[in-house]
Amino acid sequence: MNSLVTFARRYTSINWANINPVYFVLAALIVAIILNNPNFIEPTGYMNFLKRAAPLAILAAGQLYVIVSGGFDLSVGSMITLVVVGSSMLTNNDPAATMWVIPVMFGMGALVGLINGMVVCYLRVPSLITTLGMMITLNGFAFLWSGGAPRGYLPDTFRFFGRVSYKDIPLIHMLPVALIVLVVVGLILYWLMHKTNLGRMIHAIGDNPNTAKLAGVSVNQARISAFIVSSLSAVVAGILLGGFAGVSTSVGVGYELQAITAAVLGGAVLLGGRGSVPATIAGALTLMAIFTLLNFLGMPQPVRQIVQGLILIAAVALTMRRKGKHANS
């Protein structure tokens, strides 16, 4: 029995069927992009791609926490807007202000996540409504703060994270700071989700909150943590986007849906219980790769939206089919 178990454990670790299909899809897309545009194989090509994808990848990894816990966080897009607009107001063109503005933004993000989580846990409002309400509220704050017309730019110290790339690095020639941020934040979110008790608790409450409660899990603590992680990831994404997008009240529009799409592409199960941070990041890269490919193919911007909508529905439908088969076998 024991040897069988050991054998099987070893066997499952090299089982190709267990590899998340999103990685194959991503690989195929990259090949397609290279075929369309050989320049992509140059460091400037793929590094710029990774730089542009970094905010979404981080945002999606944070969103995953809420999805795995069984909810949705639709407030992250407006959180990004608020970070970009708020930072431009607070820094007020003073390069030194970045030092304290960034911590303030993180504090604000933590507060928003806390409120989202507490409204869901204690006022028992479904997360969808809670975070949609938060979305409207934060958008209102962004307008209110900037008086409707945000000032044009952020200091370079702030834009450093999103815009700058280190040049003349051997082998890869350039290394965007955004990519370093993505790797660091990605590792932290990976560790927290897959290597700590908190991650297991978030899985458990999303899978079956009754069981979790009876097994001694602090359901509210885990749920609120998930919302806080999601909001904080939106702050990081906002800081990166502030680096290469202009300051406007529409900078975060649509990101919440892209983040959910990325998580679903990465195999996360809606309404909770299953999801992986690396696969979600791969899902975000896949979505960006699709957008890039559409660009190369000369498709107009709106086609992106249509494709994203189709992907979202198809990915969920496929997950449902896989689940159905599973249950029958």
Binding site: R200, A215, G216, G273
Partner: protein
Amino acid sequence: MKQKPVIEMQNIGKGFPGVVALNAVSIECYSGEIHALVGENGAGKSTLIKILSGVIQPDSGRITLDGEAVSFKHPLESLNAGISVIYQEFSLLPDRSVAQNIFLGRELTHRGILQNAQMNAQTRKILDMFVGGKKIDPETPLSSLDVASQQMVEIAKAISLNSKVLVMDEPTAALNEAECQELFESVEMLRDRGTAIIYITHRMREVTRLADKVTVLKDGEIAARFNSMPAPEDIVRAMVGRDITQFYAPFASPEEISQQVLCVKGGANASIHNINFSLHAGEILGIAGIQGAGRNALAMAIFGHIPFTQGEVTLLGNKVHLTNPRQAIAAGIGLLPGDRKSEGLTLKQSIRDNAMLSSRALAGIFSSHKANKYIDLAGIDLLLDKMEVKAPSYDYEIQNLSGGNQQKAIVARALSLNPKVLIFIEPTRGIDVNTKASIYQLMRDLARKGTGIIMISSDLPEVVGVSDRVLVMHEGTIAAEFSSGAQEADIMLAATGEMGAVA
């Protein structure tokens, strides 16, 4: 009396993976007759009824209705053929009125417009036909009726459908004495109208009061049938008589039972009252009672899930006031929920994750998932190995395991925290016979090592075979106490409130 039975089930056989649920069971019912179907939990009563109503299909055997062979693929087909089943879980809409429920799916319309007045009037007429129905207003929403009245609505529905056959599955499970009397009168009224009634119960009183014939099921086979009313003892003997000795572990010897670990004095909340008992290390304390008697409420009160609002609880010599499961677990109480799927498992997670859930929950949230102050991955693997959880790998999702193996993983979850008190709710429900025996052995081993064990079970042979002491609950309180070796019949009498004095 009558020439041909209305409904006849002949040689019905049904197997599920690993178990034979029914083996050549035959039952028939004539018009104007009440046929009692009795048997313990797991005897195959529900399976038989599900086959009759078309929820599941039999492997063998035939069903004839009014002399014609029928086979139902969907509950709707049996309903249209004239067979109504009233399950313990009603299929009613809580937010709709009584009349709307009775006419659900076959509303009366005139040129496309609902005839609400007419439906209300017809409902009134039907409700007036029996005692329990008279006081129900057809326009009341279902959710504002008590359980007994909802049952009357189900009966009214059967009448309005003009059902030839009515099956009632333990209809008195949640009723009080007066409500039972009303129900009996309503059932008799239906019988007098010529309906064939199959009445499922395990309460002797109802059998003797109502039934014309009795069929006793045991382990999926017919254990006895009586065409006229036998003595209650004969029925009980047929229900429980089985060879059980080698199945259960031996009882604790007096020296194995040591100091008191848990004591409840005057405990009460909304569903239970006047709870007084104590539990000792080394002892398995069985708690018996019918559904709704408060057994689960007692377990959840001890575990802090739905806490006691009165009384005092002493755990290991200290007074405690536990208000949530987390505190209870930290204080040394473990619980195995009765409904594995909805309370015990996180189905999409691995066996290991399920087994580690409690120890991780109590350890710090940022500490590693691999090890905590209670146990580590190697430790949990060892525990799972020791309990012989059969799986290709402990990384497997637990939903792919059999019920018995799932149950063992939940036991491992509780054991990883070394509890002093362990509460098992329905520990062997839906588990095959061999695994049952190993779970009983495990419980005894744990008791030997000094754990105090409470076992709540609806399975009377299990209660008698496993428990060193038995408490019987009735209407929210402890009605009787028996020492080991009690007779099932006595426990059953106490559980149904038949027995005035405590044995």
